[in-house]
């Protein structure tokens, strides 16, 4: 295990050095790298934690996690401008589609919560009989 770790660390340092050497001459890449860390750690994550603090129910949190993931993939499609004269790039109404998918997530979450409540209610009398 020590040998494997040593090999991983040495090759990791070498490959990282090659990577740094590759991105150093590109200030745009460096800027975007820094922007990613700052945006994620100081903006995105606090928003996620706040949302989690507001949504206490596990099903609501699950739905929010799925919705957030879909938003990361879907929002750029909504914001991006379709190139002129090329109807095959971004051919759909992504704003409407994204809303439909988000609505689907909410409905699925509500149905799961409802089913869980019904199951609990039907299980309770059986539990009493067992006593």
């Amino acid at each position: 295990m020590i040998g494997l770790r040593r090999a991983l660390i040495v090759s990791g340092v070498l490959v990282t050095a090659y990577g740094i050497w590759g991105v150093l001459p590109d200030p745009g890449v460096l800027l975007f790298l820094a922007a990613m860390v700052v945006a994620h750690d100081l903006v995105w994550m606090p928003v996620v934690l706040l949302t989690g603090a507001v949504l206490r129910r596990p099903i609501a949190r699950t739905a929010a996690l799925v919705a957030a993931s879909v938003l990361v993939v879907g929002l750029p499609l909504v914001v991006a401008r379709r190139p002129a004269g090329n109807p095959s790039v971004l051919p759909l109404d992504y704003g409407r589609n994204l809303l439909a998918v988000l609505a689907g997530i909410i409905v699925a979450g509500a149905l799961t919560a409802g089913l869980g409540r019904i199951r609990k209610r039907t299980e309770r009398p059986a539990g009493r009989d067992d006593r």
């Binding site: 090999a7 990282t16 990577g19 991105v23 790298l33 993931s69 051919p91 759909l92 998918v101």
Partner: protein, 401 residues
């Protein structure tokens, strides 16, 4: 004065690992105070499981991405076969689909280790500082790859102050290196976390992993139809549909964007240069040559692909006409477009000699749409779309290699 070199190394190691003075306790507020992140779901085990899944996903993305880079910029030692016909379609489809699945995986993985950003003391020693810098680099590079990939697929280039293809490729090496380093450092933690048998009920953690799976599944379901035609109608968040475009096929660069709208059937000439000299073929001459029909996909590096039926002249027939052996010749294919990164491409011998490689004149039985490269385009098996040169104006056959 001869010094003992081992003593020097030992002194350097001691300096490197020596603890730094701790920061004053009164700085310990906000997220830095103890128990600032109370979620019981975070655990070394959860982080390890997510880390393994993410590591596998990143390995798949790195391998398929590197392959795509090598195909487009082949070094001397690299050769890419013409068969299986749809291999590139699979590797690049997997590259983009796996990259999209990384969105929830990376998001939750970073959530699970977020409190460590506010570890106390922030830096214990120089070695600890170096380790944290390595993690920061890994986080930056991983976010860079996933976000830039999503933005590129969505054709939203405004937020990226760099050329996507180059930046994405270079940062891939950064991820690979930082990830190897990270695995090397964290291996004992992961082993310990996975070995431990759990006695506590784990419902919350299972629910979290289910949510990650559901998010990954939903993203895949709403996008993968850009290349898997049976799922096309579900691809409501796919930047392409395999049947949307002129003649029912997507197009990346239009004739208007390439400046080739003035090309006309009457004035068109294909210039064919080889060991036997240069000949010019007009459209009638091309149509008079033996025509062949093949089914080949067009595959974009952005992850979409679509099959189509192409009819035209075999490239190998043209190479023979130019006086070269198709089994050993490479062909430089140049477009009539004035500029652009993919104005020309080189077809190696494996593809030149393949009977499926055509200078296509028809698509699904119709004359090519201007956006599909009228009057003639290259179509070859198992090649990225950017190398399937459109509006072909010149073929230069380079003989025996």
């Amino acid at each position: 004065m001869v010094r003992d070199p081992r003593g020097a190394v030992r002194r350097a190691a001691r300096w490197w690992f020596a603890p730094l003075p701790p920061p004053p306790e009164r700085l310990r507020r906000g997220p830095l105070r103890p128990a600032a992140f109370p979620s019981p779901l975070r655990s070394a085990r959860l982080t390890s499981l997510l880390g393994i899944a993410l590591g596998v996903a990143f390995a798949v993305c790195f391998a398929t991405g590197l392959l795509s880079h090598l195909i487009q910029h082949p070094p001397g030692w690299f050769s890419w076969p013409a068969r299986p016909v749809g291999l590139y379609r699979v590797t690049q489809g997997v590259h983009v689909a796996t990259g999209l699945v990384c969105v929830p995986l990376l998001g939750v993985k970073l959530w699970s280790v977020y409190p460590r950003l506010f570890a106390w003391p922030p830096v214990r020693s120089l070695a600890h500082a170096a380790e944290r810098a390595g993690v920061a680099l890994l986080v930056a590079a991983a976010l860079f790859q996933v976000v830039s990939g999503v933005l590129n697929v969505a054709h939203w280039y405004t937020p990226m102050p760099f050329f996507f293809t180059t930046g994405h490729y270079r940062v891939a090496w950064l991820v690979a290196g930082a990830l190897l380093l990270h695995i090397g450092v964290q291996l004992p933690v992961v082993r310990e976390a996975l070995r431990r048998t759990r006695r506590l009920p784990d419902a919350g953690r299972r629910r979290l992993l289910t949510a990650v799976g559901a998010a990954a599944g939903l993203i895949t379901l709403t996008t993968v139809g850009q290349t898997l035609r049976p799922l096309e109608s579900l691809a409501v968040l796919a930047p392409r549909r395999p049947s949307r475009g002129p003649q029912g096929l997507p197009v990346n660069k239009t004739a208007a964007a390439a400046g080739t709208t003035t090309v006309s059937a009457a004035t068109y000439r294909l210039s064919l240069t080889g060991p036997g000299g240069t000949i010019e073929l007009d459209l009638n001459a091309l149509n008079a040559l033996p025509q062949h029909t093949v089914d080949l996909p067009i595959t974009c590096v952005e992850g979409w692909s679509a099959g189509a039926t192409w009819t035209g002249v075999r490239l190998s027939d043209l190479v023979e006409r130019a006086g070269a052996d198709p089994g050993r010749a490479t062909v430089l294919v140049e477009s009539l477009e004035a500029g652009g990164r993919y104005r020309s491409s080189t077809v190696d011998a494996a593809h030149t000699s393949d009977p499926l490689t055509l200078i296509a004149l028809r698509l699904n039985g119709q004359v090519l749409d201007p956006d599909h490269g009228f009057p003639a385009r290259l179509i070859a098996p198992n090649r990225p779309g950017v190398l399937q040169t459109k509006w072909v104006g010149r073929l230069t056959v380079r003989g025996e290699e």
